[in-house]
C-alpha cells in the first residue's frame, strides 16, 4: 500500500483531533497512530533509503579511486564519503528499529572512541593475512573497523598515497569497509518493510500495547540526541577553556565536516518535529493548546540552524577564544531546545523512560 493511500484512509477523523473537544487531553490513540505512520513513512524509511543510495555511491567512488588512484578520483571518493556521512547524520538520531539488528547502530559509527580502539583495530586489519575482507570477516571484526570512522581515517589520511605503498591491502580494506557500510545500510532500509508494522500498527500487535507507546520510542529519537549533540559532539571538544579544547575530539575532524554534521542533525530533528503530514509533533502540541510552546520550539530550531550557518569548520587542534565562545553558545541553545522538548513531552503525556535512562 502506498503512503498516500494510507494517509487518505485515516484522514476522516482529523477534525476530531483538532476540535475543541479534545483540547488539553493527551492526543488520542488515533492521533498517535496517524503520527506514527507519518513519522515512519515520511521520515524514517525515506532517510534510510537515501542513506543506502549514498552509501552505494560511496562504495563505487572508493572502488573507482582504488582502481585508478589520482587526484580526481580521490576527491570524488572523498566527496562521496561526505555525502554518505551527511545522509547518516540525517538519520543517526533514530535509535530504534532495524538499525539495532546485528548491532548495526554501533557498527555504523563507533564514536566517540575514547580508548583509540579503532586505531589499534585498523592497524591489525591492515596487516590481516587471513583471506578476503568479506562478510565473514566483518561478522567477526571489531565494530570499530566496520563503519564510517574507520573509512574516514583511511580515506582522509593526508599521506594516503604513501600508506597505499606501505600497506598492500590499504585500498582493499578501504573498499571493503565502504562495501560493508553499503551492505548494512541496504539491509537497514529493506528490513523496514517488515519492521514498519510494529510501529504503524502499534496497539494491535504484540510489540506495543498502545499507539502512544510506539510514539514514545520514536520521540526518544527527537529528544535524546540533543544531549549527544551538546555533550559529545560539542562540549567534549571544547573542554573547560579554549586552551584545553581540541577539535580533534569532534566527530569528523579528519573530513572537516563536524559542523556540517551538526547542521544535518538539527535539520533532521527539525523535520521530525514539524515536517510530517497530516500530523506533526508541532501540530499535536498546538492541538493540546500549547501553541506558544510549539512555536517557541520552531523558533529555537530556526535560530540554531541560522547560527550553525555562521560557524566555519575549525581546524584540528585547539580552538580560538572566539570559536570556543561561539560553539559554547551553540551548546547553550541546544540545551534550551532540549528543555523545551522535555516540556513538550510532558504536555503530550509522553514518558521517554526512567529506568532505561538512569539505572544502576
Amino acid at each position: 500500500m502506498n503512503i498516500a493511500k494510507q494517509i487518505t484512509r485515516r484522514v476522516w477523523w482529523l477534525p476530531l483531533v483538532m476540535s475543541a473537544g479534545v483540547l488539553n487531553a493527551a492526543p488520542s490513540d488515533e492521533a498517535w497512530s496517524v503520527w506514527n505512520e507519518a513519522a515512519i513513512d515520511q521520515h524514517v524509511i525515506p532517510r534510510y533509503q537515501t542513506l543506502a543510495e549514498q552509501s552505494a555511491a560511496m562504495q563505487s567512488a572508493v572502488a573507482g579511486y582504488c582502481k585508478a588512484p589520482d587526484a580526481d578520483s580521490l576527491s570524488g571518493a572523498r566527496d562521496a564519503y561526505v555525502e554518505a556521512m551527511l545522509a547518516w547524520q540525517g538519520i543517526q538520531h533514530v535509535n530504534f528499529g532495524t538499525v539495532l539488528y546485528l548491532m548495526r547502530d554501533s557498527a555504523m559509527q563507533f564514536w566517540p572512541d575514547r580508548k583509540n580502539v579503532g586505531r589499534r583495530q585498523l592497524r591489525a586489519a591492515l596487516s590481516y593475512s587471513g583471506g578476503a575482507y568479506d562478510e565473514e570477516y566483518f561478522r567477526d571484526a571489531s565494530i570499530s573497523v566496520k563503519g564510517f570512522p574507520a573509512l574516514e581515517s583511511l580515506l582522509f589520511d593526508e599521506a594516503i598515497a604513501d600508506k597505499r605503498e606501505k600497506f598492500p591491502r590499504y585500498c582493499e580494506l578501504m573498499t571493503a569497509i565502504a562495501g560493508n557500510i553499503a551492505q548494512m545500510t541496504d539491509s537497514i532500509a529493506v528490513q523496514w518493510d517488515d519492521a514498519r508494522s510494529q510501529y504503524t500498527d502499534a496497539g494491535h500487535n504484540t510489540f506495543f500495547e498502545e499507539p502512544a507507546d510506539a510514539s514514545a520510542q520514536i520521540l526518544k529519537s527527537l529528544v535524546e540526541p540533543l544531549e549527544v549533540l551538546r555533550d559529545t559532539k560539542i562540549l567534549r571538544a571544547l573542554d573547560e577553556s579554549a586552551a584545553e579544547s581540541n577539535w580533534k575530539r569532534s566527530e569528523s575532524w579528519r573530513s572537516g565536516i563536524s559542523v556540517a554534521n551538526l547542521s544535518a542533525n538539527v535539520a533532521a530533528l527539525e523535520a521530525l518535529y514539524q515536517g510530517t503530514k497530516p500530523l506533526s509533533v508541532k501540530g499535536l502540541l498546538e492541538a493540546q493548546d500549547q501553541t506558544a510552546l510549539a512555536v517557541a520550539i520552531s523558533d529555537q530550531f530556526a535560530q540554531i540552524r541560522a547560527h550553525l550557518k555562521t560557524i566555519a569548520e575549525p581546524q584540528a587542534g585547539p580552538l580560538s577564544e572566539a570559536q570556543w565562545q561561539d560553539l559554547n553558545a551553540l551548546a547553550g541553545q541546544i540545551r534550551d531546545l532540549n528543555e523545551q522538548l522535555d516540556e513538550a513531552m510532558l504536555a503530550l503525556g509522553i514518558n521517554l523512560g526512567f529506568n532505561s535512562r538512569d539505572g544502576d
Binding site: M103, L346, G353, N355
Partner: protein, 367 residues
C-alpha cells in the same frame, strides 16, 4: 476513598484478621488475588518515595524518601521493609508494612556510602549491606544488629571493588562485585575493572569461591543476582566495554562450579544495549527472568536446563518479583505499568497503569 482513609481502613482490616463480617471476607479474598508489591518510585516532579501497592493498582502506603532508593528488602518475621538508598546512598529507611508506618531512618557511617542493596542473616538478627569504605577501594559488607537499633557491629571485605547486590544461602554470602570504582556516580576505572561473583563464609568473612569471566570480558559488570532454592545464582550484567555481539549479559553459577553464560539469541542480544537490570528466580526455582530496560525486554530461561525460553516487550521495564505460580513473575516499569508475566509462554498481562508513577529498578512481592 482518599489514600489516608484507605490506609486507615486497611489498617483496621489487618488488625482484625478474623473479623466475621462480609466486607472483611471480601477484602481478604481480593487480597489473595492481588499481592502487595513494594518498590522505590519517583514522581514526574522528582519526588522519591517507597510505594506499597496491590498488584491491581490500589495504593496502600506511600512514604517520601530523602533520595532515590534502590532495593526494598523484606524482613518478614518483623513485618518490616528496609529501603536502601541508591548509590552513593546515605540512608536506610525502615518501614513497618503491617502497620504501614515508617519506623526509623538510619544514616550511613561516616565516610561510607550504600551501594543500594541489603540482605539479612539466617537468624534475621543482622542486616548486611554493601558499602563503600573511606579507607580503600575494596567494598565492604557492613553488619548491623537489628535488635540493637541497627547499630553497626561488624564489617568484612566484599572481595572486590563496587559491590552491588548480595544474597545469603545458608551460612554463605554471595556478593556481586560490580568492579566499578566511582566518584559520585562517575565511573573511574572502566579500563581496569575486575568484577567478580564471590561466595563468602559469613562467620569468618573468608572467601570460599571467586568467579570471574575471561579477561576478554573483564568489563562485564556483575551487578544483580537472585538465588534458586539449591543455591545457584542467576546473574544479570551490564557491559561497560566496546559493544560486541557476544558479551556476557546473563549467567548462572552453581555452588562449586564455574560461572557460565546463559544463552540469549543474537537478535535479542543486539537490542539490549549491553545492559540488564534485575534478576529474579520464580517460586519453583526452575525459571529465571532478567530485565533489560534499555532494550525494553524481559527474558526468560529454564534454569535447570540453562535453556532460553523467550522474551516479551516491556517498555522501560526493570523491576521483577516472583509470583505464586511456577514461572510467574510481576514486572514493573518506569512508565507506570505493572504486568504479570509467564516464563513458559512469555504471556504478558498488564494489571496496572499509572503513568505518573516511575517504578524504580527493583520490586519485591510481599504476597
Amino acid at each position: 476513598m482518599t489514600e489516608i482513609n484507605r490506609r486507615r481502613f486497611l489498617g483496621i482490616l489487618t488488625a482484625l484478621p478474623l473479623a466475621p463480617y462480609c466486607a472483611t471476607a471480601t477484602a481478604a479474598a481480593a487480597a489473595a488475588e492481588a499481592p502487595r508489591l513494594a518498590s522505590a518510585v519517583s514522581s514526574d516532579d522528582g519526588v522519591h518515595s517507597l510505594l506499597i501497592r496491590r498488584a491491581d493498582g490500589q495504593t496502600l502506603f506511600q512514604h517520601p524518601l530523602p533520595a532515590r532508593a534502590h532495593q526494598v528488602l523484606v524482613d518478614a518475621p518483623r513485618q518490616r521493609l528496609v529501603v536502601v538508598s541508591r548509590r552513593p546512598g546515605y540512608s536506610l529507611e525502615v518501614i513497618d508494612y503491617r502497620e504501614l508506618k515508617a519506623l526509623k531512618r538510619i544514616a550511613v557511617t561516616e565516610g561510607g556510602s550504600f551501594y543500594g542493596h541489603a540482605e539479612l542473616s539466617a537468624d534475621g538478627r543482622y542486616l548486611m549491606t554493601t558499602e563503600a569504605s573511606a579507607a580503600d577501594d575494596e567494598g565492604r559488607v557492613v553488619f548491623r544488629d537489628v535488635e540493637d537499633d541497627y547499630r553497626v557491629v561488624r564489617e568484612i571485605r566484599s572481595g572486590g571493588v563496587g559491590p552491588h547486590e548480595l544474597r545469603r544461602f545458608g551460612d554463605t554470602l554471595i556478593v556481586a562485585n560490580g568492579g566499578i570504582r566511582t566518584e559520585g556516580r562517575e565511573k573511574t576505572n572502566l579500563d581496569t575493572m575486575q568484577p567478580s561473583l564471590v561466595r563468602l563464609d559469613i562467620a569468618s568473612g573468608e572467601i570460599r569461591e571467586t568467579h570471574r569471566f575471561d579477561e576478554t570480558f573483564h568489563q562485564a559488570s556483575i551487578r544483580h543476582i537472585d538465588l534458586t532454592p539449591d543455591g545457584a545464582v542467576l546473574v544479570a550484567m551490564q557491559y561497560e566495554g566496546t559493544p560486541r555481539p557476544d558479551t556476557p549479559l546473563a549467567a548462572i553459577q552453581r555452588p562449586g562450579e564455574a560461572m557460565t553464560t546463559l544463552p540469549i539469541p543474537a537478535g535479542v542480544h543486539a537490542q539490549l544495549r549491553q545492559y540488564c537490570g534485575s534478576a529474579c528466580v520464580d517460586s519453583s526455582g526452575r525459571y529465571g527472568a532478567i530485565s533489560a530496560p534499555r532494550g525494553n525486554q524481559m527474558m526468560f530461561w529454564d534454569l535447570q536446563e540453562a535453556r532460553y525460553l523467550g522474551q516479551c516487550m516491556v517498555l522501560d521495564g526493570c523491576g521483577l518479583a516472583r509470583g505464586q505460580a511456577a514461572g510467574e513473575f510481576y514486572a514493573s516499569s518506569g512508565v507506570g505499568r505493572v504486568y504479570r508475566l509467564k516464563a513458559q509462554t512469555q504471556a504478558r498481562e498488564r494489571i496496572d497503569k499509572t503513568p505518573s508513577l516511575h517504578w524504580d529498578n527493583h520490586m519485591v512481592n510481599l504476597a
